[in-house]
């Protein structure tokens, strides 16, 4: 499943870059996070419980990996999240642009949902993923403001 989009964040490009590459900040921004990030550097793990409507909030152990980057310009993140009957794999790239207090972010990537949430995925998976990305960026925006 392909996802792409763009958004404007009320943060300077360097602040946003720092937040996106800081596991603690990123996991704080993710509202589904239920346990703090563990690990450091380019690879870290968080426990998330995304809200999936009638499927409830399944617990997923998500491993994030920063696979490539051009500091201040773009980064490529891979995520693998697994729970007791669900799995999510995602890999995507975010590009930052703009100067001053506001930064434009555009992203694109592939997401696959497996297990029980897979059937939700075919109906509303793209919306769910999009909503998570929007929420993180909004949350970072607020934290930075």
């Amino acid at each position: 499943m392909r996802v792409e989009g763009s958004s404007s964040v009320q943060m300077s490009r360097s602040d946003l870059w720092d937040a996106l590459t800081d596991p603690a900040a990123l996991s704080r921004a993710l509202s589904a996070t239920v346990a703090p990030a563990a690990g450091e550097g380019d690879r870290w793990e968080v426990i998330i419980r995304p809200s999936l409507g009638s499927l409830g909030r399944p617990r997923l152990r998500a491993t994030f990996e920063l696979v490539d980057q051009q500091p201040g310009e773009w980064l490529r993140i891979r995520m693998h999240a697994i729970g007791s009957e669900n799995v999510v794999d995602a890999e995507g790239e975010a590009r930052l642009s703009g100067d001053g207090q506001s930064t434009e972010v555009s992203w694109e990537g592939d997401v696959s949902l497996g297990g029980v949430i897979g059937s939700v995925g075919q109906r509303s998976g793209r919306d769910l993923v999009q909503a998570q990305i929007d929420q993180v960026l909004r949350s970072l925006s607020r934290a930075g403001a």
Partner: protein
């Protein structure tokens, strides 16, 4: 380390089939699990967990709802009616008799919810057409009867 979700419990008062219960419930407890597990009212059954099958239907202040789609805390102060209230003075109601006479149940698992859906329909529409009956019970799945005799039973109950 425990990573279970923090729970907040609340005391609720709920009346089910004219009996009042006071219980502590967790914020995330579903009404259907509260009825089955906490109150041991096994006439409310689970069929799907997603609000599609209607097996867990009850009347909530007289209105038909699916109890898997509601939290127990929302039932605080409510009057819940299950199939156990349909019989009058221990005798089966006309609707129940009609289900039996028309063989509108086989395994009986959907029956409590189906009866309540039918009751609710007839309360709103005392003389429903076949089409109105079919639309009225479309939220309740039955895998045994093909709905043929359920529709006939509701028609017969409406006529009597």
């Amino acid at each position: 380390m425990s990573t279970t979700q923090p729970q907040t419990s609340t005391q609720i008062t709920v009346t089910v089939d004219d009996i009042e219960y006071q219980r502590e419930v967790e914020a995330s407890d579903l009404l259907v699990h509260f009825l089955r597990d906490a109150l041991q009212l096994t006439q409310v059954v689970v069929g799907c967990d997603t609000g599609n099958c209607g097996a867990c239907s009850v009347l909530w202040n007289g209105r038909l709802i699916k109890s898997c789609m509601m939290l127990a805390v929302q039932a605080d102060g409510a009057e819940i009616t299950t199939v156990a209230s349909l019989a009058e003075d221990g005798e089966l109601s006309g609707l129940q008799e009609s289900f039996s006479e028309n063989h509108a149940l086989q395994c009986g698992y959907c029956t409590p919810g189906m009866l309540l859906a039918a009751r609710s329909l007839l309360d709103r529409t005392p003389e429903p057409s076949e089409d109105q009956i079919r639309r009225g019970i479309k939220g309740n799945i039955c895998r045994c009867t093909g709905y043929v005799n359920i529709v006939r039973a509701i028609q017969a109950a409406a006529g009597s």
